[in-house]
Symmetry: C2
Subunit: 457 residues, 2 copies
């Protein structure tokens, strides 16, 4: 569609500037000190929706951070695409590892460096800009609804209620999300599944106060040593997870599915080299692609306790803490796994130790059938702009809300992500390639077009 190409070409500098402006807002949802910035970011997203051509747009308050909603109804008879994305970002620390300020975006070697550049401001904003391209050239093939939330990085606690309260308003034919990644620009891919999540915080208490490790050492259970022991026991010698019942509902892949999945281009040596590790690690009997895409995992995301300052302090601390998350696969259920973890972790506490377990948030695993019309429309859109068929993959990350779209709104989701695995999302020096940003804006209108055509049949 030449008209789209021309509009993008004419406006590309502005499209980039507007994204950089959005990236300057530190919309960190996990840390309450950024509350004002998160609100400011929501307002900015609303203004962009209106400027791009929405009939209406609004900032909808929730008990937490607000949801921005905007829409353009071209014709009630046309199919409707519901775009979902999020304007909140992960905390930026450790700050000292960033080579430029996380909220002072810079472009180096064709890459935009900033917290949220890829996850998800960069990818979310592609949809607003692609919508502008279609709206301003009068080529909207579908009605468009956009719902951009501010709590994705903290578990989307209030989105479920918003969905339930707005079933009619959010009526659509498909959900479209760009919050995932491709194998590479040479090997475009579409994620056909996502892992779920159960995220727990544990507090382990030994003696009722910090003690001198000389006076009491060797006579009282040390909560750090015991926490380490408990965590270590969560994997066996084959790196299977030892929580009773953990694997009970895991859907084992068929030999054919495993075969297909392992056809994706993957260079183990390159992978190791890129991470600077002497070897990969994981569950015995599975390849790296299977481990990240189709198997459940358990990782400690944070641990702390005792003296962590400069020098040496001979303390035997009263408490130790860890944040532990599990990635889930079909048909595991987040709340069930949280309960299994909680029961097990309390049970393995030795005498002299008490344990408190607090679930943070969770989400269900999802799979999008590759033979659905929506998936096929996405595949055709990729073909139109990349010149080749996309490879279906399984993503390791979680977008908990995808399962809710199906259960509350009855909608399937297409994951049309343009990120790359080395975009450092959730890490220092997050980046997003300018090429990918424009490629996304170019591809999205084709999805609307092909999806409308498939629905018209």
């Amino acid at each position: 569609m030449q008209v789209w190409k021309d509009y993008l070409e004419t406006n590309k500098d502005r499209f980039l500037d507007e994204l950089l402006e959005l990236l300057r807002i530190p919309s960190v949802s996990a840390d309450s000190k950024y509350k004002e910035d998160v609100a400011r970011c929501a307002e900015a997203v609303k203004q962009h929706m209106l400027a791009a051509g929405c009939d209406m747009a609004e900032v909808c308050p929730t008990k937490g951070h607000p949801i921005v909603y905007g829409e353009k109804i071209v014709d009630p008879k046309l199919p409707t695409v519901l775009v979902y994305g999020h304007y909140d970002v992960q905390p930026a620390d450790p700050l000292e590892l960033w080579t430029s300020g996380p909220f002072e975006p810079v472009i180096k070697d064709g890459k935009i460096y900033a917290r949220g550049a890829c996850d998800d401001k960069g990818q979310m904003f592609m949809h607003i800009k692609a919508f502008e391209v279609m709206a301003k050239t009068n080529t909207l093939a579908c009605n468009v609804k956009m719902m951009i939330e501010g709590e994705e990085e903290v578990g989307s606690d209030n989105l479920g209620k918003f969905l339930e309260a707005n079933v009619e308003k959010l009526k659509a034919d498909i959900v479209l999300i760009s919050d995932t990644s491709m194998i590479s620009m040479e090997n475009p891919s579409i994620e056909s599944g996502l892992r779920g999540l159960a995220y727990m915080e544990v507090e382990v208490t030994g003696p009722n106060r910090d003690l001198h490790s000389g006076v009491y050492g060797g006579a009282v259970a040390n909560p750090i040593n015991q926490l380490c022991k408990m965590i270590a026991s969560l994997h066996d010698e084959n790196n299977h997870i030892t929580i009773p019942g953990f694997y009970d509902k895991v859907l084992e892949l068929k030999a054919e599915e495993r075969n297909d999945l392992n056809k994706a281009p993957f260079d183990l040596d390159e992978y190791k080299k890129e991470l600077n590790v002497s070897d990969v690690w994981g569950e015995l009997g599975y390849t790296t692609l299977e481990r990240t895409g189709t198997r459940p995992t358990l990782d400690v995301n944070g641990i702390w306790g005792g003296y962590t300052g400069e020098g040496a302090k001979t303390v035997l601390p009263s408490k130790a803490y860890a944040k532990i998350s599990m990635r889930l696969v079909p048909n595991q259920i987040s709340t069930e796994i949280s309960n299994l973890f909680s029961d097990h972790f309390k049970k393995i506490a030795p005498a002299g130790i008490t344990v408190k377990v607090t679930p943070h948030h969770g989400g269900e695993p999802v799979v999008t059938p590759t033979d659905s019309p929506a998936y096929q429309a996405a595949a055709k859109a990729i073909k139109a702009t990349f010149g080749k068929d996309p490879i279906p993959t399984r993503g390791g990350g979680s977008i908990p809300i995808v399962a809710l779209f199906e259960s509350v709104l009855g909608l399937k989701t297409v994951l049309l992500g343009f990120g790359l695995d080395n975009d450092n999302i959730h890490s220092p020096n997050e980046k997003y390639d300018v090429f990918n940003y424009y490629k996304g804006i170019e591809t999205i209108p084709f999805f609307h077009k092909y999806f409308a055509e498939s629905e018209a049949k």
Copy 2:
């Protein structure tokens, strides 16, 4: 000695006020931001030595924090007591657990609450005040030399060199230290041994950067999980330490010695209740008193890695850290144990993980013979003021310098401590009983008297 009693009675309020003043100086040696305060504290100690009656006193610079030295030579033919103590204190964090400011001493229910109240400002200052009592009443039975350092809590790195450079100046007949505790005021005791120390810091690295735990989780060794596993493996199912060679030089106690040691009054139920733990923990086959006094231990004093802030962050971190210390018993050697730990810890790192081990500081274990004249003089001094014979115990803590006094100066040490195990040293709400403070000032002159008498024989 009525003259001592009278002097103490007349001056007791001032003696207490002067200690409180000293406790207001945050002389935290581990944290460089308190450097000026540490220096200020050294100067205050020097002024107190002069005011108490020293012929001379000086602040001796070192590469780290200064050492304060003062002396009063009554008659070169008299025996000389070398008093050792330290004016530096442990860091005060976690601050939020203090019920009053760590450097704003308050007296509640007859107890002085402040960082350093017991360890070691309160106990060290008893010697300056006891010296004042003897000096001002012209009853000094021995020459007195006082060496008060500012780096005890960070390993006394520069004291060894100071000893070596001042062998002549420090010539004495015995070293007297109050930096340990008694069983109780009803059961006075003297520590006849101390554990040694080897303190290590470990850094465990997995991937070269923080990763998204969804994208990489389950495929890359997580440094926190692996650090936990490595730490957990350092104890076996009987809570023995698994480092090869760790126990090789440990002197097992004779049945009789174990028997004597276990005669000390000890109420296991009270001990558990006081710490609020359902059970004690330790090496199989040993009692709690044996575990803390005569057996080597390994405790994690601090651990950190990944996201430890508010909320949830799904990071698979690049690095995790721990501070790990081992208490040693005769005849383990600190540097040997440090090397054994280091070699072993590197060896148990799994593929995909690299390990860096940094030793912090160490000290050798010591034993003071209970049949020596100096120990006997201390026992008689206790008898004079408490009305009963002290029980010999083994302390779990470490005063690394005690081994150096023997090797460099050829001097034995008497550990005449007046602290209590519940003084919360190294913990929030450290305290020292006013009663114990005065009891120490009352008892110390008797040690000088009886020691002089035993030397005169």
